[in-house]
């Protein structure tokens, strides 16, 4: 049975590890280290990768791979992006400049975005509504990227599944034949 890889990226604390844990059918593999960066109130941070799996309706397996978020780990990004069919960019709207954060990942994964499906998921919009989704769409358009931008709470399984659906729809539109997630 075919296997495919979807990559989750975004800033530290945006919810990459949480998103994968929310939908993975197997216990996720994690590489978390004690966080010493005092600018982010978070006890641990991913320094290598996260890994999970989910089965599609057709029996195909989606491998869910999470990157470290910080730019000092950017050397891991192309390694993990290799062979991915889709990219989920998680944005934490409570951070000081979420649009600048988006730029980092649009640039860091430009090669993958040009070839694969992409969706941008904006988190913590309930408490931090600005910038709005339109601002992200405009920013992406200015960078020549056209992909869905949606609000998401990645602690909710349904929200994460919706992100996968959006990726799979793009792949189907391009002629792929992946079934949707159950």
């Amino acid at each position: 049975m075919a296997e495919h890889k979807i990559l989750f990226t975004g800033t530290m604390g945006a919810g990459k590890t949480t998103a994968i844990a929310a939908i993975s059918e197997t216990p996720p593999m994690r590489t978390e280290a004690r966080n010493t960066d005092e600018s982010v109130a978070k006890p641990t941070t991913t320094v290598g990768m996260d890994w999970g799996e989910i089965t599609l309706e057709g029996g195909e397996t989606l491998r869910l791979c999470g990157t470290p978020g910080q730019q000092r780990f950017a050397f891991m990004w192309p390694v993990l992006a290799r062979g991915a069919l889709g990219l989920v960019i998680l944005i934490d709207n409570s951070r000081p400049d979420p649009l600048a954060d988006l730029d980092v990942y649009l640039q860091g994964f430009a090669g993958l975005i040009a070839e694969a499906a992409c969706v941008v998921a904006v988190g913590r919009t309930e408490t931090h509504p600005a910038p709005g989704l339109d601002a992200f769409a405009v920013r992406m358009q200015a960078r020549g990227v056209l992909c869905p931008v949606v609000p998401a709470n990645v602690t909710r399984r349904d929200d994460v599944l919706l992100l996968l659906h959006l990726l799979l729809l793009q792949l189907e539109a391009r002629g792929g034949a992946l079934a949707t997630t159950s």
């Binding site: 994690r30 590489t31 280290a33 004690r34 010493t36 005092e38 290598g48 990768m49 910080q70 000092r72």
Partner: protein, 127 residues
Amino acid sequence: MNISPRVRKAAEAAVDRLMRDLRGIKSVVIATEDGFEVAGHMEGQAQLARMSALASSLSALGALAGEEGHVGICEALTIEAAHGQLLMVRARHDEVDLIVCIVASRDAVIGQVLYTAKQVARTLRQA
């Protein structure tokens, strides 16, 4: 990053010892588990930062491989390359977990490097 002067001083002393006592050492970095440099001997600050992050990722992947392979906790990781070796040893400290990362040329006696690196890690744990 909040590292106490005591730990930082111990890390600097550890770097000095490794550079002084071992033959064929190209560079030494002592980094936090999450990839920030604490002390090091390497050409250029940027290289120090990159190697610290790299040591963090590799060490975490080594730990994951140990778990998944059911062979226990990974305390040391060795990478053999065409012109030398990279060696990473963990030093678990109450305040901050550290990684000792050594880049050695083919001239280095790798058993000696590993032995000394583990001694240094033990000293750091008690700092």
